[in-house]
Symmetry: C2
């Protein structure tokens, strides 16, 4: 249930003094091998944080010895000085681990637009290196040190009967949108896999997990998902079994982010079927998931399917207004574009809301996870600089 | 300052019993000629309300004798029965005005997905016809009868020294997004203009006024802007002068909608310059104007330019992260993609916020009007079924 669950990994989380308050804010994850294959997926935002620029470069080698992560400062919009800080961070870890800086990825999350306190970061790397452990407590310490507005650490794991395992943590509570959430995710495995196999599995898993989580439509500058393989189990996994397990683990982590999102009072699944293609199903589901009027209605436990139909109608997908069906928590409220039942028939008192939309056009289906738009979201994001 | 300001128009607003509470909810605007040229622009939502389907059809003739508008029910997602109600509404007005139903446009706003009480609407049309007046009070009564969550009626007028005038009203407070707001707008003029000239002037004006207002990114099923010309002044206006006056009037009405938007505490102008094209400037400005994290930060009077830079970065426009400048209320906080001043230097205590974004790529410029995302917006839209 953590990045230290697979054999060959150590982790640590320490207080480096990057953010105010006595909270851990720097994590280190080390792959002790024997192999060091790795893959990564990054934000598609054109404004990329310095650690993203650094880590994308590093991942070109398909090889990682370690990852340094910090919370409290995104090191984004920080220019050459910010990039030098990311580089210096990797250099420091490399020196301690006796490897090259090019084998160390760096991830940051927090406020955009101010310089990271470099000395604090470098001191934190040294402290984390001294604190490295291979047990579950060490994995949890790392998962805890990267949290920002998250209220709980988010870990997941899978032990395969074939003898290999996967573990991971993630963070992210706001600025969560397509092309990944504002999130940092580290997944480890002791399976024997090379970098191209890891890359293929990771892209396949991210496409239907993190990329289908959309809390507030705001794409971050820092999104990073890293997958590190130590090969320490000595087992070459069945590629399909590995990809399936990785996908399930990423979905598990995505669901944990949904449940801990800023201001969440409803965990909403928007499921679209009958679209012309899967991509169009994603487009419709995402448009509904982002619609402020749908999100505020669900916050108010109001099964306002008319707002859902309106959002379907302005999506960039093919839609026939006379074929739209809307079912909320199992009660069909709209059939063929008109009312099918009194809206009060749908019960939204619980925390989970399933919105099912039928388009009646084809076989395309997809679902997006989102949350409601609540007073808590407004409060957190108007009062907290991040 | 109203639709009755131009010669040749009468208007009325009455209580038809369409919505609960004793409030006027049906308006009638009549063009007494001698000419009856007209133009209209409608929502681009694929889910169009019955009155939009009806009025689009009617406008194909370039001619309108009257417009019936109601609040309290959108007559959207109401199928053939809803369309018959829109048709019957036009028939009723036509009977009273001794014209054809095809000369009467219909507009509705309110809850989506329930049938309009047809008898109440037809009774309301008769009552409004009996109450028609040509004075400012009659124009105000019509402007008042179409309000939903709006708190004030919104009217504008222009008397041209050349002898013609324009007047108009609008409504709209939420579900306000590109391709027009959830809004109904009626503009009248006594200038002598034919339908093609009106159409060209209206499209040109809407493109830079209502289409540049984006309160919550939610495109309505009912958006309608109608322009009616009576020719009663006997004056053929200079086409450019007329278009300019119409554009200014539409901008005035759009600004009134911004100032009265649901939950507004800040009136925000997002102005983009240096984009590759005007369209790309609109794209960037709209992306920033819709970003929930930018909107909540401004609600909190926090000049969080990092969130603005992140939104610029995920817009669908060409962006060079190292050329982005951000200035808030006159204080440059970001230059070339990095901090240029302490954010506290920008004062956001007032109700007006000007966000200026420079992209340094070309001559494309545009601005979008929006508002903050406040507790009031969440409250209104979670508690009110509309």
């Amino acid at each position: 249930m953590s990045v230290t669950q697979p054999k060959g990994f150590r982790a640590a989380g320490v207080e480096a003094g990057i953010r105010t308050g006595e909270r851990p804010d720097l994590a280190l994850v080390v792959n002790d091998g024997p192999q060091h294959a790795a893959a990564g997926v990054f934000t598609r935002n054109k404004v990329k944080a310095a650690p993203v620029l650094w880590s994308e470069q590093v991942l070109a080698t398909g090889r990682l010895r370690a990852v340094v992560l910090n919370a409290g400062n995104a090191n984004a919009c920080t220019g050459p000085e910010g990039f030098q800080t990311a580089h210096a961070t990797a250099e420091k870890a490399a020196e301690l681990l006796e490897c090259g800086a090019v084998e160390v990825a760096v991830c940051s999350t927090g406020l955009i637009g101010s310089q990271l306190p470099r000395d604090n970061v470098l001191g934190g790397v040294a402290a984390a290196h001294a604190a490295l452990g291979a047990d579950a407590a060490a994995g949890l310490a790392a998962a805890t040190a990267v949290l920002t507005t998250d209220t709980v650490p988010k870990e997941a794991g899978h032990a395969d009967p074939a003898g290999w395992s996967i573990g991971g943590f993630t963070k992210g509570a706001g600025m969560i949108a397509p092309s990944m959430a504002t999130m940092l995710t580290v997944v480890t495995t002791d399976a024997v896999l090379d970098a191209p196999a890891l890359d293929a599995a990771l892209r396949s898993a991210v496409r239907v997990s993190f990329d289908r989580l959309d809390i507030d439509g705001c794409m971050s500058t820092n999104d990073t998902v890293l997958l590190l393989a130590s090969g320490a189990s000595g087992v070459e996994p069945d590629p399909e079994a590995f990809t399936a397990a990785l996908r399930d683990l990423c979905k598990d982590l995505a669901r944990q982010m949904q449940a801990d999102a800023e201001g969440v009072t409803k965990r909403i699944t928007v499921r679209v079927a009958g679209a012309a293609t899967e991509d169009e199903a994603v487009t419709v589901a995402r448009t509904v998931a982002r619609d402020s009027l749908v999100k505020t209605a669900l916050f108010g436990s109001d099964p306002n399917w008319g707002r859902i139909a309106a959002a379907v109608g302005y999506s960039d997908a093919q839609v026939d207004p006379d074929r739209i069906d809307v079912t909320i928590n199992g009660v069909q409220l709209c059939r063929g574009g008109v009312a099918a039942a009194d809206r009060s028939a749908a019960d939204l008192k619980g925390a989970d809301v399933l919105v099912e939309i039928g388009l009646g056009l084809g076989d395309g289906a997809a679902e997006i996870l989102t949350t409601d738009l609540s007073h808590g979201y407004v409060e957190e994001n108007s009062a907290y600089s991040s």
